[in-house]
């Protein structure tokens, strides 16, 4: 990926990395939703799935905050 001449990553690089980094928590959330649909009535799996959704929302939020800081 490209870097600017003063070794700071370019906006393009930052955006590309952020998009890349968001794909794993998004994959996780999509799959977890399916698990929630498949495990209705299974309290243990539902609780674990909700915990994972919560953690992935926090991770996505962290990536967005970093992106927002980079844009300032």
């Amino acid at each position: 990926m490209s870097e600017t001449s003063d070794t700071q990553p370019s906006l393009k690089t930052i955006v590309a990395k952020s998009v890349h980094d968001m794909k794993t928590p998004l994959s996780c959330m999509r799959t977890t939703l399916e698990i929630l649909r498949l495990t209705a009535g299974d309290a243990d799996r539902q609780a674990k799935s909700i915990g994972i959704l919560d953690a992935q929302i926090n991770e996505l939020n962290g990536i967005l905050e970093k992106l927002s800081m980079s844009a300032r």
């Binding site: 994959s27 996780c28 953690a55």
Partner: protein, 149 residues
Amino acid sequence: MGINGGNIPSTLAAPTQADTSTMSERRKFTDVLLVDDSKFLADILAMFFQLDGYTARAAYSGEDAIGHVEDQVPDIAFIDIDMPGMNGLELARHIRASKRARGTVLVALSGWDEPEHKQNAVAAGFDHFLSKPVDAPAIREFMKNLGEA
């Protein structure tokens, strides 16, 4: 090169114990290894495969995955490319160099989906490439396209 994930509607319900026994008997793949440095993703994908009647194990690094492969060779492995330490490309080369595991079907998972990334995956020994974000219905469709019930 294999299929990229898409938004495919799911219509399957969770299999019962009797259903999974029958499925295992007619499936080409029974043992699935999920490798991703995101513990959450590796675990949730493993849970999805287990609910679909497979024996599924999760590994959280290339090194961890080698231990799993040496313990029991999987029929198919989904491997994240971008991992710290031993990355997915190095892991694929390691598996392909192994006499015991060289027949394992290797599926690359990657958030990078430019042609060069796919070419690198093929060169390392991957059979298929799935772009993230993946989801359960897309993986189910992918398995179906591999000939799974």
